[in-house]
């Protein structure tokens, strides 16, 4: 089987997994297409054709992926079309987004504690929750930062 086809299949497979995990299916397909493509970047038209979806769908997907820091628009000299590419450091951005969820969970726990009080069955349950998310938030942020740093140094000489 040729390389292109293997990559396409890997892309679709990962997209399916991501969709299972809550990401919208088309959004996931656009993301993985850009991740596994052999081109430096792809135009909206490329994506339409390869994925057999309408330009509207591409537009929607892109609108969701850019704020997540997963892809970026890249200026394409000589072409009037927008080009998109998978971002350097995308994964760290994605993980950071998930940190926001950790904070939300902590706040939800606190809210319940305020209502129920610490000394109750509910209070004990929520206290564990609050502690856990406080701990995770505290630990995860430096973890991501240190990776960013490590990676930046390691690849300083091979930057695009």
């Amino acid at each position: 089987m040729d390389t292109d086809q293997r990559l396409r299949e890997a892309a679709e497979k990962l997209a399916l997994t991501l969709a299972q995990g809550g990401m919208q299916k088309t959004t996931a397909r656009v993301m993985t297409a850009l991740l596994y493509t052999r081109q430096e970047s792809m135009t909206a038209a490329d994506l339409c054709e390869q994925l057999s979806i309408s330009s509207g769908a591409v537009s929607t997907a892109v609108k969701q992926l850019i704020p997540l820091g997963l892809i970026e628009r890249v200026p394409a000299p000589g072409s009037r079309r927008d080009h998109y590419r998978f971002r350097q450091g995308a994964w760290a951005s994605l993980m950071s987004q998930q940190n926001a969820m950790l904070a939300t969970m902590g706040a939800a726990a606190q809210e319940g504690l305020d209502a129920a009080g610490e000394d109750s069955i509910t209070g004990r349950r929520l206290h564990e929750m609050k502690d856990f998310y406080a701990y995770m938030t505290e630990q995860l942020i430096p973890l991501i930062d240190s990776w960013r740093e490590r990676y930046a140094v390691q690849h300083a000489n091979t930057a695009r």
Copy 2:
């Protein structure tokens, strides 16, 4: 406003957030009901009534929550009904599940690398991905373990 109502509202609010994040709505509502309830545990009938859903829906939700390690069936002496309660250590279990996703991502990156080779545009993109998930997996597992340990010690004397 009374305590019960504040807790119910907090529960619904968190359920909505979780639903946005990809969890099924009813599943999320069952989970948060068990998290914020003032009772030690709830029966399927309790959940039906409080959430205004059918017993079939409860059954489905429970079937999804138990494997995630979020809730558990508890034997209820003197009652023939199943009782459910939010699990101790649920949050650590949940986070562990997400680690499985990290492994999947790493594998997906490897698969692409095998097809594209390291020395290509695609190869460099996928290499970053692989490194990131390898790093996160490596770091996150001990993090959760150490929390489990810490929490177990801290609460050894106040166990249910």
